[in-house]
Amino acid sequence: MNWNIHLPALIIAVPLLGAFAAPLAGLGGKVTRNIWFVAVSIATVALSIMLWQHVQAEGVVVYVLGGESWNLTLPSGLSWPIRIILEVDAFSAFMAIVGSIAAMAGAFFSLRFMERFSGLDKFVSLYFLLMAGMLGMELTGDLFNFFVFLEIASVASFGLVAFWRDRPEAVEAGFKYMIVSTVAAMLVLIAVGFFYGRYNAVNMAAVARMMHFGYPEKIALVFLVTALAMKCGAVPMHMWTPDAYTEAPAGVTCLLVAVSQASLYGLFRVCFSLYGASLGSSVVPWTIIVLGVLSMFIGVTMAVIQKEIKRLMAYHSVSQIGYILLGLGVGLLALKDPQAMADYGFTAMKGGIYHLFNYTMYKGLLFLTAGALFYAAGSRNLNDLGGLARVMPHTAFMFVIAAAAIAGLPPFNGFVSKLLIYESTFAVYPVLAIAALVTSVLTLASFVKVFQTAFLGPAKSVFANVREVPATMLVGMSILTVVVIGLTLLPTWSLANLVEPAAKALVDQAGYISAVMGGGL
């Protein structure tokens, strides 16, 4: 039997096994635990690439958990699915690759970054639980299962954000994140309850097939959009982001960036695959566009005035999420009009999805460079740092690559995705593209400030003994640097093989439904 059919389950099972076996690996000492940490991360990346290849070859892949057969989505005698079904299309497979690469880079970086601290078995367990939650959210085709994985990811991230529990700020950040996440999770659960009450089903394809856009569905939509927009850090619900991203250890922040994308994935899966053409008016697309513009502008203007490097980068995360919301929001706006979709909607979606990949890579890299500065110089305050490019040339080089990419400087990958967003959104309303351009200029200004204050300038005597960070931390940063450079040099290949199939899968609601339902209902 071809074992590729089990890839959707394996890709979640491997990090879960990684989490539960981490304390056992820890019994073998530091080296065994580190080997386990890295090996499971690499295995997850390998599985995600295999899954993507499998989806490229086979189309939408389904996997029924606990059924008589892995592909028996509709049990005998029933016309709707009752078991948990993993449903992987090109968008899901794309997201799994993005998330697992960021997780692997964070794992390598954390090996030496975290070794000064105790409780590392728990750290590795939580890290893998967060990975499993993220991948589960991206691969499941079941709404209640999505909620469960969302909660797994949330609970693990509360622990990781507050991991440095001797720091009151970290505990406070974890607590605040827990409060807002719990409220959001309740909204998601109530929305799932609405669907279960109305349709006696929680499978996304089944609900999408039966969807009638009545009041319960509208309320469920409001709850899902609000909760998932909050989880990905959209303004005005972004307040937890600077706290959590700043206080989490750098490797974890890199993974949190990818996890926030899983929420964004959920938001668009709900809008495109669950509701799709039945969304009715253009209220929701415009809401997403407005949230995107607000996130871009408020995020970047808040970043400009920060003097704490990770906090500054966290506000940039909010800003970059705005670009993705804008691109995919314009795609959603054009969903019901084939002409508009052909003219600008699909380009906007490609821009949004490509930006999602680019953002996760360069933002993860930026957080790792901030962690490297903290590791080497012992400070995250830009007023204290300075002249570090001389003693940390590799970190400085990778920071410049990431900063140029996030600022959208040509020829870097950030420029390509932003160009697609600028030109397509200009066709809807020129002011949208102008807002995006202004945001890009302010992003550049902000990172020029970071580079000037942290890396340039005369050497400071307090940093006389500072040296470049250890090799494994450089490896973690290098992984993301290589991906950023690869996306820069091969934009056509990336768009044709990764982004376009993902965008097509997202707009193909019928394909998503029929993979589970066939001709049922």
Partner: protein
């Protein structure tokens, strides 16, 4: 793999840009090679020109701190920043409040 990225309104070709940067880098190196060859490392010629004054030994004395960067920009947008910073109070009740407010506004728009 090597062709252009079409945006629907134009195109992007990374290799044209790389060729441009290579030419620009070549020009820069050529200009640099025209400079004086009698530069002596380790002498006064190495010293930073600091307006004719003695350069302070401690680097932090001559570096513009991050909190002073873009002072004019933030001063010009003072009113905007006052509102924005006040919004970011750090109070978890307000975090939840903004979420409830967003849900409420969206509910009104979707339900009506």
């Amino acid at each position: 793999m090597w062709s252009k990225v079409y945006t629907g309104f134009g195109y992007w070709d990374v290799y044209t840009w790389l060729i441009f940067f290579a030419i620009a880098a070549g020009l820069v190196l050529w200009l640099r090679s025209l400079g004086r060859k009698d530069y002596k490392e380790g002498t006064d010629q190495d010293e930073i020109f600091y307006g004719g004054n003695v350069v302070p030994e401690e680097g932090s004395e001559i570096q513009v701190p991050a909190s002073s960067a873009y002072w004019g920009f933030t001063e010009a947008l003072k009113g905007y920043y006052e509102v924005l910073v006040e919004m970011h109070s750090g109070d978890a009740r307000e975090y939840v409040g903004y979420m409830v407010l967003t849900a409420s506004v969206l509910a009104v728009l979707v339900l009506l």
